[in-house]
Symmetry: C2
Subunit: 326 residues, 2 copies
Amino acid sequence: MKVLVTGGAGFLGQRLARALLARGALKSEDGKRQPITELVLLDVERPADFGDSRVRTEVGDIAERSVLKRVIDDKTDAIFHLAAIVSGQAEADFDLGMRINLDASRLLLETCRQRGHRPRVVFTSSVAVYGGDLPDVVQNDTALNPQSSYGTQKAIAELLLNDYTRRGFVGGRVLRLPTISVRPGKPNAAASSFASGIIREPLNGEEAICPVTGSTRLWLLSPRKAIECLIAGCELDAAALGNQRVVNLPGISVSVDEMIAALREVAGERVVERIEWKPDPRVETIVGSWPARWDTSRAEHLGLSGDHTFTAVICNYIEDENVHVV
Amino acid sequence: MKVLVTGGAGFLGQRLARALLARGALKSEDGKRQPITELVLLDVERPADFGDSRVRTEVGDIAERSVLKRVIDDKTDAIFHLAAIVSGQAEADFDLGMRINLDASRLLLETCRQRGHRPRVVFTSSVAVYGGDLPDVVQNDTALNPQSSYGTQKAIAELLLNDYTRRGFVGGRVLRLPTISVRPGKPNAAASSFASGIIREPLNGEEAICPVTGSTRLWLLSPRKAIECLIAGCELDAAALGNQRVVNLPGISVSVDEMIAALREVAGERVVERIEWKPDPRVETIVGSWPARWDTSRAEHLGLSGDHTFTAVICNYIEDENVHVV
């Protein structure tokens, strides 16, 4: 089985690649486990290949037709389409967001359609497709009402993926991710970057800025669980999904104050004191438009599970990233 | 004031043009009535110009950038974007539907953005953006769940129009139209074509085929009221609309049996006998996925009104089209 990961140099892409290589196999559409013979990692910068002979790294612009033709052939069984321009950047650079989040996603689906063998496409969407006056718990049939260009582009790609699936061009699965926390690495241009930064930086002995008030509620999923859900999502039985290919992944609803209390519990007051409060209305507006909780019954029915407590999420981050708390 | 109508040779486009010319003026964004000095009608075939010196007809492919640049300049105050590939045709020819219903709509918004003067864009959407398990009365915040490529393309264009409006590139208004009935002219490739055909053809002494069962419920708006709503929609106060630019226009919910009973009431049994029942599962599937009624409170609050009875709709059709019932 040949597998493609777009955004393969990114944090989720690299972690997914390692998980797929360790697993060595994926269930195919007929439910049988097939060995992964080739794992193609595509990104704008060269992804790590882990010295594994099954990995083929490709550098290219995903909005270019020729690049997609090079990485998707009629042996490609499963595609994890993670490449994206994050929320803050898509708001700052409208054209770039449209080009990568919309045009490239459509071109990927078109390339699959032209190949004609109906590969599975796992697409990651976001809390940002929701907005406006939301119920306390967002339901699977709550209307999409994005309040950012990023959310708009993700919502459009969801609609395309559903229609390309309905028409039999691809076998689509849209997984709406909660905000991922705790991400390792550096802050990025996502409006939600702080949701990792306020935990990660203090644990690593650095100052962090919190741009929202402590009562702001977030809907979070750990990287560990996100990777498990991506793989399980790819293996989901098409019949169980039916024509509606969007699944809201399970999250935990926590306020920023509760996140910080969990950090205090794990690492102590000295670490928490490295957080500086500095409200940024731009971030508050975008993040405040997202749902703080959604109904997870469909995901659970399909066998997809999330985290239990944010304290455990912090502990997993420390373990997974070999953090030495200072 | 300069006004553009795309799909200007179509049935709604021509009727809208006549209504605008008769009115002679439109309210501008500041609420003041401004005379219409130029009315540009664009279509793939030459629209009628009614011998009116204010009308400029343009023939061209709306998915071509150069065509849009020719018809939208920085004097264009209001655009009625009616050009579309209808539901049945968009399902039969996927690429054509994507090109006209999605790409051309986006190109139109991009052309406005590049001009930079934030023209008003009135976009017509459809019942076809809804689908799946629907409540008896669809609400403004019922999730979009299109079951056809046409509905998908309309839903995507709605999302784009909302975001282009939020960013200040255009002043968008999306009017979701019920199925229009009774349309004059010939049957077309819309899945809902029969909703006019079963009234129009019998009144004109011709046989008509009804492809759905009598209990099928439709959500209908007459051409007369549709034109009134398009003009009123353009003139709506931006502040009253806020960031959510989609308005579900009022309709009447009638079953096919009730439509035929109204026809019998107006024209007699002899006319009704010209309808032949011939179920077409393809049409039943598409039409059956559409809502039979939606909440109209927002439209009414904004001052947009629909029809009262389907009997009146038939009488208006006979009057407007000078039909001599045979």
